[in-house]
């Protein structure tokens, strides 16, 4: 039977984590491990008694897998059916050879990431977290925040029958996803938040993936199609998730959406996977699983008494599959700050102002990089205009130019590389390839000069619009930590 607030051991906690998904559970585990003397009180709250019904992230890069391993969670997830993923196979079109972006090529990183069905992931993590000295309260949502002046000082929980319960805490950690209620209640602006579109997902059993332990990206349709294994079942079968990137104006709904996918997306997936996919879509009962894709430029990730982790602290299009890895890095960073203050006297706050400033400073370094990459890759993979198609072509040319090019790109995409000069170099190389492939196209010997120039101008325009983003990312990397301030509201 689920706990109620009345069952809680304490009325005041050092940390209340709102959201018991990947980021929340990993943060709880990181904090529990940092609390060597088990003096701190940690409460994990989630609005759902079980897993959130909406399908969510399932792919974790090696950097994230390493964090899970460090937190002692990896083996449990592996045993729960998690699939070790070797990298990405990216198809410019279904008839082309795929580009092999292998994790193993990234130096000093684990050779494999982890992919796991979201429900199995969350259930396993919650089970593990329960074994710590943290407490888990399920079925209760946050209705309000308690405040002490400008400081957040706890949460007001609302449970079944709209019963409310107030819990005080030195620090509230919002891990409640991209539509974070805590963030809204705290008044943290989500200015710039845009709904990019929607992702529809289906599951296949024993899908014929060209590379069985890889995530696949198929381009050519309106938006990219992703396919990756998510679960090794006990009976020896493997379940695969396939997601379709849909526009924000949904072209069809309900049953019509299935027909839309059959007509406009599945033909762009190579056979025999396409046939299996068509059969799965046809056989699917009820509406398809859907989730909005949101771009949320990193909001202020910390304020007195509150920090944001995971998607609550900024998210982008899932094309780079970096959301969960970022959530794990947030957990790791908070864990490090907790460890730094592990010896603090019990009557002092676990996370002082310096801890929050350091967390935010670190968070602000990697989140904009991830967002810039996801934004650029999505725009190129979508190919909605001349410039982005030129960049897409250039990317494939670049990746085809050698293993080192693929390795550098993969290091960036898998959140393993954060040196600013590498980011800048990759940006410049892609821009150069875009100009070259525009001016000397692959198939056309007499391609009109006007078209070449138009394409090159489109690529240059796109590259120019990204200059600000590049500068922002570079600055995020080199920015002195002491410049970061914790804002109060």
């Amino acid at each position: 039977m689920s706990k109620t607030p009345a069952d809680l051991r304490h009325s005041r906690y050092d940390v209340v984590i709102v959201g018991a998904g990947l980021a929340g559970c990993a943060t709880a585990r990181a904090l529990a491990r940092a609390d060597r003397f088990q003096r701190r009180r940690i409460l994990l709250v989630d609005r759902h008694n079980d897993v959130h019904p909406r399908f969510s992230g399932e792919l974790i890069h090696p950097r994230g897998a390493q964090i899970l391993d460090d937190l002692g969670l990896f083996s449990a997830l592996s045993e729960a059916g998690g699939v070790e993923v070797g990298g990405f196979a990216v198809y410019e079109n279904a008839d082309a050879r795929f580009v092999d972006l292998s994790y193993a090529d990234v130096p000093d990183e684990r050779p494999r990431g982890l992919s796991i069905h979201h429900k199995a992931l969350v259930r396993t993590l919650r089970k593990d977290v329960r074994e710590d000295h943290s407490e888990l309260l399920e079925g209760w949502s946050v209705a309000d925040l308690c405040r002490d002046g400008n400081r957040v000082d706890g949460v007001v929980l609302e449970g079944p029958g709209r019963v409310r319960h107030e819990i005080r805490a030195d620090l509230v950690i919002a891990a409640d996803g991209k539509s974070s209620t805590v963030r809204k209640l705290a008044g943290i602006s989500d200015q710039g938040r845009t709904t990019i579109g929607f992702t529809a997902g289906v599951e296949l059993v024993d899908a014929s993936l060209p590379r069985s332990s890889y995530a696949h990206v198929f381009l050519g349709a309106w938006g990219p199609v992703l396919a990756y294994p998510i679960l090794n079942e006990a009976d020896g079968t493997t379940r695969t998730r396939v997601t379709f990137d849909l526009p924000h104006y949904l072209p069809a709904k309900g049953e019509a959406l299935k027909q839309h996918l059959l007509r406009t997306y599945i033909p762009f997936v190579p056979a025999p996977l396409s046939a299996q996919l068509a059969a799965a879509v046809n056989a699917h009962q009820g509406p398809l699983h859907m989730a909005p894709t949101v771009n949320l430029p990193a909001p202020s990730a910390a304020m007195p008494g509150l920090v944001l982790v995971g998607d609550a602290g900024g998210c982008s299009h899932p094309i780079t599959a970096s959301g969960m890895t970022m959530g794990l890095r947030d957990a790791q960073t908070l864990g490090l700050q907790a460890e730094r203050r592990a010896d603090a006297p019990g009557d002092e706050r676990w996370f002082d102002a310096e801890s929050l400033r350091r967390y935010r400073s670190e968070h602000d370094r990697y989140v904009p990089t991830r967002q810039a990459l996801a934004d650029a890759i999505y725009e190129a993979f979508r190919g909605g205009e001349d410039g982005s198609r030129a960049i897409r072509r250039a990317l494939f040319e670049y990746w085809g130019s050698g293993a080192s090019a693929r390795s550098r790109s993969m290091a960036l995409l898998s959140c393993a590389e954060r040196r600013p000069h590498v980011f800048l170099t990759e940006y410049l190389k892609t821009a150069r390839h875009a100009l070259e492939t525009s001016l000397v196209p692959q198939h056309a010997s007499m391609y009109p000069v006007g078209d070449r120039v138009r394409r090159a101008r489109g690529a240059a325009r796109l590259a120019r619009t990204k200059l600000g983003l590049v500068a922002q990312v570079m600055w995020a990397q080199v920015r002195p930590g002491w410049l970061t301030r914790i804002e109060t509201r």
């Binding site: 008839d95 599945i266 033909p267 396409s274 046939a275 205009e385 692959q442 198939h443 391609y447």
Partner: protein, 638 residues
Amino acid sequence: MFDRNDAAAPLASSTSIRVEHGTDPLASGLRRAQQLATGWRDRARSDRAGDEMPWLLHVPDIGPTCEVLLADRLFHDLGAHEREAMVSFVRGSQDDTGAWLNVQGEADLSLTTLGWWTLRDAGDDPNSDAMLRASRVVHRLGGAQRANFSVRLWLAMGGQIPWSWLPAIPSELFLLPPHVWLSPARFSPWARGILTPYLLIARAPAHLQLPDARPLLLPHNDGKPVAPRLTRPGLAGDLLQAFDRTVKLSRKLPRGPLPRLADNRALAWIDEHQQGHGGWFSVRPTLLSLVALRVMGAASGDPRLRSGLDHLRRSRGRARIPHGRNAGETALVQGLGGPSLDVLGGLMGSGAHESEVAWMLRQELTVRGPWQARADAATGGWPHEPGATHHLDVDSTCSILSALSALPEDSSQVTASWATARRALDVLFAMQEPDGRFSRFERGESEVMMRRLPWTDADLLAYGRSDDAGHLRLTARVLGAVAAAGFGDDDDRVARAQRWMEQTLSSGLHEHVSAGPLSTVAVIAKALGSSFAPNHPLRAEVEQRLRTRQREDGSFGAMHDTAYALQGLVALGHTDVQPRRAAHWLANAVNRRAPGTADAVSPPVTRGLGLSPAGFDPSAGPREAALALHAYSAAGGQ
């Protein structure tokens, strides 16, 4: 043509309507129309057993038939019965006035010249009433020397007119790199297919033993024929005429190795561009390429000649004579090529056999062709005739994509059709011009630089004009095809095409919608319905203009016109009283048609090439009726 062994029961379309055996006139009309469409697919098969010739899906004017008959004096390939059957077509197509008419029903100087000469070659008495009337028509229209380029070329080869009455092409042009604007590589594919062999034929020069056609030449008072003007009147034309003379004079001067190099280049081009089916880009380029090979020394047993002649034979078929004194009779006609894949795609749109679909998929272009030089696209899409390997046809590609989209989900061809469709989509996008419209065969086909010079034959160098109805129709078709693949106006290519369509339509609504052919209106309506926003003002405007063309009996004219109009209204989202009346009229008209009959009424269509830009489309009635009734029923129409 299709594999016959596995031609089992026809596949029902995934969205096809179950046809009940009852009294519902719409259902029975749809069933009858589908039967008739299937009948046409069968008739078009070139592997029919016995002596049965296939039927042509596109019936051109008498030009190709006449030229094949004249060229046979060189090739001696036609059997006596074939020759007679083809002559019957020419003879039966003559109008009572003595003229041969174009598809619009107007007396045509070039066709009349060719018709007269062919019948003269066949042994008809030049003093017979029909021949005298024909020669009078030729004189009235300015004499054979004013006929089009192709006819003058045949007259020159037959020794009836001097070669100087044809425009001179400096052979050095063929040595220019293909990206230079004056290079023949920049001509439309049809023009290139004509002018390359012309260079060799004129330099030889070729000479064919053909009967005397000089009575058709309009003479001066001194009895000598009037020399034609090769350029348009005006200063620019005069200067060009002078240039033409200079080129011809310069041929008498020593020019070193250039002419020989140009000849070699032209000959190599002819060799390289013979397609998998044996022909070149349609019948006239094929004929002239064969003549060029012959005058350059190819023996009659040369495999290039044999396969070219075989292709011409396969392109012949039966057809009802569309107009003339024997209109409605069946005759043997030289088609422009093999069965039109565009039409076959339409005939398959309301249900096709697995074997037919498999056959259609095999017609996909798999080798690189000249069209790719100007379009940055991979290989894919479909040509305009089966077996062609070099030339993309955007019209056929759209038609086949539409047919493939109706495949049932359990068809064994679905996966293969997806693969071909995505390649085709890539190719379609690559055929977009910078202003947003789409080209049919090659990028830049309607913007040939040399067409701007005031030659009288300059229009032949290009394929249509950039803002003509053909390109509007084509752009609308492509918009419909890419919309069906999920691409909307958030893609800059679609947005550009929409803008071009808006601009072209806004200045030509009357020309294209109120007075234009309903086939074009239907395609425009489909594009508006699938690609444009539901509240776009053009949709309402086109719908209104289309509705006003309905007649009191519910029809929009003939069966095919009513079918096109119904498709347009349904595509715009309407199944109200007007489409309902049209659908019932159409179903009744189809139900009255006896199964297995070929249509007597066949509408003129602009699906031709070069000097036969239009022709007749005998399967249009049942084909479009099947598509229209299917769409109407699928939209919930009663």
